[in-house]
């Protein structure tokens, strides 16, 4: 498991990549990824290399959404595998996040 982040050249978008399992052990790194530096306008969580996420990962996504402005947050979850899509679908997170 590892979390890396990358800011777009204009600094407006922060992309967070999660490799491996996205669960409670990722907590510190995930928070660190969006709390360091200035706030971005848009957030992208790239789950291309994430093969599993549990309910505490869903909780962390809610923390990110809160950090990014709650109801007005612009957070996208991209490159979700079918398993990850299924977990997000059960929790109906598509109502909170753009999933693509």
């Amino acid at each position: 498991m590892s979390v890396t982040s990358e800011r777009s050249s204009d600094g407006q978008q922060l992309t967070i990549n999660i490799k491996g399992r996205f669960d409670f052990s990722t907590h510190q790194d995930f928070r660190g990824a969006y709390e360091k530096g200035a706030d971005a306008k848009r957030y992208v969580v790239d789950l291309k290399e994430t093969h599993y996420l549990d309910s505490s990962a869903l909780g962390m996504l809610l923390l990110l959404r809160d950090h990014a402005g709650g109801e007005r947050a612009d957070v996208r979850l991209v490159n979700c595998s079918p398993d990850v899509v299924k977990i997000l679908a059960i929790s109906n997170f598509s109502k909170l996040f753009r999933i693509g």
């Binding site: 409670f24 309910s55 505490s56 869903l58 909780g59 962390m60 809610l62 923390l63 809160d66 109801e71 398993d83 679908a89 059960i90 929790s91 109906n92 997170f93 109502k95 909170l96």
Partner: protein, 570 residues
Amino acid sequence: MRGAAPPERLKILIADDNASDRMLLSAIISRQGHEVLSACDGAEAVALFERSRPQLILMDAMMPVMDGFEAARRIKELAGEALVPIIFLTSLTEGEGLARCLDAGGDDFVAKPYNQVVLAAKINAMNRLRLLQETVLQQRDLIARHHKYLLNEQRVAKAVFDQVAHSGCLSAPNIRYLQSPYALFNGDLLLAAWAPSGNMHVLLGDFTGHGLPAAVGAMPLAEVFYGMTAKGYGLPETLREMNAKLKRILPVDMFCCAALICVNFKQQLVEIWNGGLPDGYLLHSDDRPHTPLVSAHLPLGVLSAGSFDDNTQVYPFGAGDRVFLLSDGVVDSTDESGEMFGSRRLQNVFVANRNPALLIEEVQWALARFRGQARDDVSMVEIGFTEPESLGPPSVIYTDSGDSSPLDWAASFEFRASTLRRFNPLPYLLQLLQEVHGLRLQSSELYIVLSELYSNALEHGVLGLDSALKRDADGFALYYQQRGERLDSLEDGFIRFNFQIIPQGQGGRLIVDVQDSGGGFNAEQVLALPPAVDQLSGRGLSLVRQLSHQCQWSSDGRTARVEFAWEGLA
């Protein structure tokens, strides 16, 4: 000793039968800053060890009375878990002899004649090991102590929580469930309670995370569930309150996946809301394939009150039908290769199931076969349909004396469109009527009659829905779909309640008029029909007639009047 920390002052026991060797070694060790104890044979060494507990021992192998090997064995035994390093002093050079020193419990050896630097280094190395062992033991004991505290705290928390959780009706004959005794600390929650209407509410919840954090939300959730169910609130109001409460008290990253169901035995309906739990299933008594009860909502505690969606699904539910709910942990159990159990395997268990009483066990077996081991952190519940007569009536306890019971009054209420859209007035009305002590013994009947009249007035009167739609399963679904749509877009209409409490001798009478803004119905014609027993519709009116003392409809079918009477209280 260059670069190393100054050596700790240790209490070192020297056992050697050769007096000159012993004195020489004592001198060296003392010069290195340690305290020295001396013994001239093995037996004396053991006795000194018992009395003075030296931290390290330098032991000659060959001694009279008791040799070093035997002394080492005894000292190691006396030392127990603590590491008391024993360094053998030996002129032995052949491998076998040296090995024997270690076999007897020795930790190292130094050869005579002594090299002071090597000796000091060995003592330091052994002391490091000794300290390491000491730290490990301390930490182990600390962890064991914490673990014991934790278990005790969990036991107390669980005992308190059980008082709350078991105030419900999980033991009702139509409920079967599987839950680990410590499910609370896995964040799983299972609650069941009777509503005053005779409906049964069941909640299966799964909080994010594990341990105490997962358990803290359970208590407020249970209180809202029991409190509102007992007061006669329906699922939407209860869900809104549970969501608002959790949203208010839980941190952002915590929430509760939950399914809430309401079984209406009298009308043979089941109403369900699923937010974030894996698909539940409605298992039919006939050969129809089971109906998945899919999560259509976000979990409780995520959305603000304004965006929360309390829409429920309603299905016909009769003898032999069952609702099966489960927490995650069943379908997402993985085997050694990482493959998930999945919903297909679960459904195969449903299909293969012959004896409904064994369904939960069969799911467990399938899970155990799949993983090669059982797991005890999953929750499953199955709610069946048992005819209401065989279920225990809800027990209600009152604490006041009744001296101030109001006995002569009338009140009217009019609920208009925007109120009817979102608000369920029945709990308030019932609570008002509960102030009349003579009515309390009939509160269940009263509630059922009022809710029947209310839903008739709302669904057939204000919303103009045709109950004939409900004659088959498709029409049934359509009926509830239309109900939701029309209610959401309701602009006009009203339902009026008029209550009169009239004292009569020692007792009294309650007269209730329920009027709606709808087109009315041909009361004479409808009431003349034989009560429909096996149909999905038409149970409401016969229920009202059975339970109230008198009931009649105005000729235009827009106003119903029911009457309840009571005798004087002893």
